[in-house]
Amino acid sequence: MTETLHGLSDLDRVIHEPARLLLVALLSPVESADFLYLLKESRLTKGNLSVHLSRLEEAGYLTVKKTFRGKIPHTEFRLTPRGRSAFDQYRKQMGAIVAGKKSQG
């Protein structure tokens, strides 16, 4: 039980927040995605989405690239190697915690 709790306290808090976890999970299988894709898939509000993306960018987990598609501004988000590694690590830790809890139960 104690080890499980220690595992919980070691979790990456940037990713552990549900909305940010969803965003990182959505970005993980692709090279990059635009704001509209993340908005539609996450179903967050635009303000909320912007805040969480900024938080991930501050942590060095994603990069932002602003371009134009024709005359329309287009913003693409891409997970950095650090972000991918943090996501993989988080999944491993969660898997271990869940497996530990199951074996105890």
Binding site: E31, A33, D34, L36, L39, E76, R91, G95, V98
Partner: protein, 254 residues
């Protein structure tokens, strides 16, 4: 929790198929190829070699042109229809090691067995009887390969409809194989069975070989046609559902 994360990851992988355009493009490609293969079965040729050469040229050209047209059409449609509605993603570039591994698997699972069978048929007279049964087992083999590919795509993306299409492809292959088997196979003359095929192809073999090839293409053509119709239908249903959910392009002020 893990399931929810996995589901979010699979949504990204499945996004290419969200609008049904890719399936409709593949369906149109299959449909055209199926019709082409069936037409080939009806057009007679003098010798089996000229038959085979012209068929290879026809299908190669048809496949290349249709594939290019389908890919360009899908990109164009996605750019005009899908991306303004639900956004744009850029797929991960495939690493060179994955491409090499895929090519190695194709070589091991498809090309080597075909070459092995061809060598066995030429060098081992008892194996020659297998040749005329190609119209029965080839559609089953293609159906199984396409079925496995479709099923794996369904598992990778979490899209159940691909698993259903995989099962349908396998069933279609089996049905076509059974139909060809029920129709019976062309008989190979005794002298053709015993002759040395390595140095000279006996004339007596020409007719049964052309019959076998025509039957093979009738079976494969029918199978390709049915798979094309299934893909088109699936793509159309997906497209209609997507359009219903996203009738208008996204607007900032909405």
């Amino acid at each position: 929790m893990e399931q929810q994360i996995d589901s979010a990851v699979k949504r990204g992988r499945a996004y290419w198929f969200v609008d049904g355009f890719a399936e409709m493009g593949a369906g149109a490609l299959f449909l055209l190829l199926g019709v082409g293969v069936l037409l080939r079965g009806w057009i007679g040729q003098e010798g089996w070699l000229s038959w085979f050469a012209s068929a290879a040229i026809d299908f190669g050209t048809l496949k290349a042109v249709t594939l290019l047209a389908a890919v360009l059409a899908v990109w164009w449609l996605k750019d005009r229809f899908t991306y303004p509605r639900t956004g744009y993603i850029r797929g991960k570039s495939v690493p060179q090691s994955a491409v090499l591994s895929f090519l190695r698997n194709v070589l091991l699972l498809v090309i080597l067995p075909v070459l092995g069978l061809a060598a066995a048929v030429i060098l081992l007279p008892p194996m020659r009887i297998v040749l005329t049964s190609i119209p029965a087992w080839l559609p089953v083999g293609i159906g199984a390969l396409w079925g496995v590919f479709s099923w794996l795509t369904g598992t990778w993306t979490g899209l159940t409809r691909f698993r259903v299409m995989g099962a349908l492809a396998l069933m279609t292959g089996i049905a076509v194989g059974a139909w060809q088997m029920a129709a019976g196979f062309p008989a190979l003359p005794a002298e053709a069975l015993q002759a040395d095929w390595w140095t000279a192809m006996p004339d007596a073999l020409s007719r049964p070989l052309i019959d076998t090839l025509n039957r093979m293409f009738a079976g494969v053509g029918t199978m390709t046609l049915v798979c094309g119709i299934i893909l088109l239908a699936s793509g159309l249903v997906t497209f209609l559902s997507y359009r219903k959910e996203n009738p208008e392009p996204y607007r900032e002020d909405a």
